[in-house]
C-alpha cells in the first residue's frame, strides 16, 4: 500500500461498508452466509450493502450451485481494491498529520 494515492471514498467510509470491503479484500471470495455471520449483519442489510457496492463496480457477485443449493459468492473487484487502499491511505495520512 506504499504506492497508493490517498483518496477518501465516501461510498466505503461508513463502518459497516468499510468492514465488508476490508473483509472481501482479505479474501479471493466469500459466501454471503459467511459475511452475514462474521460481520453480524442481517440478510437484508448485507444484501443492501452488496448491492450498493456492486452498483459502484466495487464488488462482483456470483451465484453458484453447490450440492444442490444455490449460494451467493462475493468478491472485491480491482476498482474496489483500489478504492479501499486509497481510502485507508487517506485515513492514515490524516492521522499522521495530527
Amino acid at each position: 500500500m506504499t504506492d497508493v494515492a490517498p483518496r477518501f471514498d465516501e461510498l466505503i467510509h461508513p463502518a459497516t461498508r468499510l468492514q465488508l470491503v476490508a473483509a472481501l479484500a482479505a479474501a479471493d471470495w466469500a459466501e454471503f452466509a459467511f459475511l452475514r455471520d462474521r460481520l453480524g449483519l442481517s440478510d437484508s442489510a448485507l444484501s443492501k450493502q452488496l448491492s450498493a457496492l456492486e452498483e459502484a463496480g466495487y464488488v462482483a457477485t456470483d451465484r453458484v450451485l453447490d450440492a444442490g443449493r444455490r449460494r451467493v459468492r462475493a468478491r472485491l473487484t480491482s476498482a474496489g481494491r483500489e478504492a479501499l487502499a486509497g481510502h485507508l491511505a487517506a485515513l492514515q495520512e490524516l492521522l499522521a498529520g495530527t
Binding site: H13, A15, A25, A26, A27, W29, E31, F34, L84, L94
Partner: protein, 150 residues
C-alpha cells in the same frame, strides 16, 4: 469529505475488524489433521505386522494420497468451503511450516519407536505413532494460525 481524527481511527478499526474476520479463517480443514493422525497410527500398526511389502505399499499409497491432498489444502486458504482467504493474508510460510512439522514428526516417531523397541515393547510402531499423531492433531492447527500471524 471532512473526517476528524477520531472518525479516522474508528474507520481504521472497522477495516481491521473486517480483515480479521477473514484472517481468522486461515487454516487447514479439521479433516486433514484428523485424517493425517489416523493414517500415521495406521502406518505404525502396519509396520508392526512385519510384512515388508505391505508396509512398502501402504507407505507409497499414503505418500501419494497425502501429497495430492497437501497440495490442495496446505496453503491454509481453504479451511472451510465458505471463504477462500487471499494468498497475501494466508502468508507464504504456512505450507513450509506444515512441511517442517511433518518432517519433525517423522523424526520424533522414528526416534520414539527405536527407544521403546530397545525397551522390549511388542508393538513399537503402533505405540510410537500415537505421539506424533497427537502432536499433529493438537498442534497442527495452532502452528498454522501462528504462521499466519493471527
Amino acid at each position: 469529505m471532512s473526517i476528524s481524527p477520531d472518525e479516522a481511527r474508528a474507520a481504521l478499526a472497522a477495516a481491521e475488524t473486517g480483515r480479521r474476520a477473514v484472517a481468522d479463517e486461515v487454516g487447514l480443514p479439521a479433516w486433514y489433521w484428523w485424517g493425517l493422525g489416523a493414517c500415521w497410527i495406521a502406518l505404525g500398526t502396519i509396520g508392526d505386522l512385519g510384512t515388508w511389502w505391505l508396509t512398502s505399499v501402504a507407505t507409497l499409497v499414503f505418500g501419494a494420497v497425502h501429497s495430492w491432498v497437501f497440495g490442495r489444502v496446505a496453503d491454509g486458504r481453504r479451511r472451510t468451503s465458505l471463504v477462500t482467504v487471499s494468498r497475501e493474508v494466508a502468508g507464504r510460510r504456512t505450507m513450509l511450516n506444515v512441511w517442517f512439522l511433518l518432517l519433525a514428526m517423522i523424526v520424533v516417531g522414528a526416534g520414539f519407536a527405536l527407544l521403546i523397541a530397545a525397551d522390549g515393547a511388542r508393538h513399537p510402531g503402533t505405540i510410537a505413532s500415537v505421539l506424533p499423531a497427537a502432536i499433529i492433531v493438537a498442534g497442527g492447527p495452532r502452528l498454522v494460525r501462528w504462521s499466519a500471524g493471527s
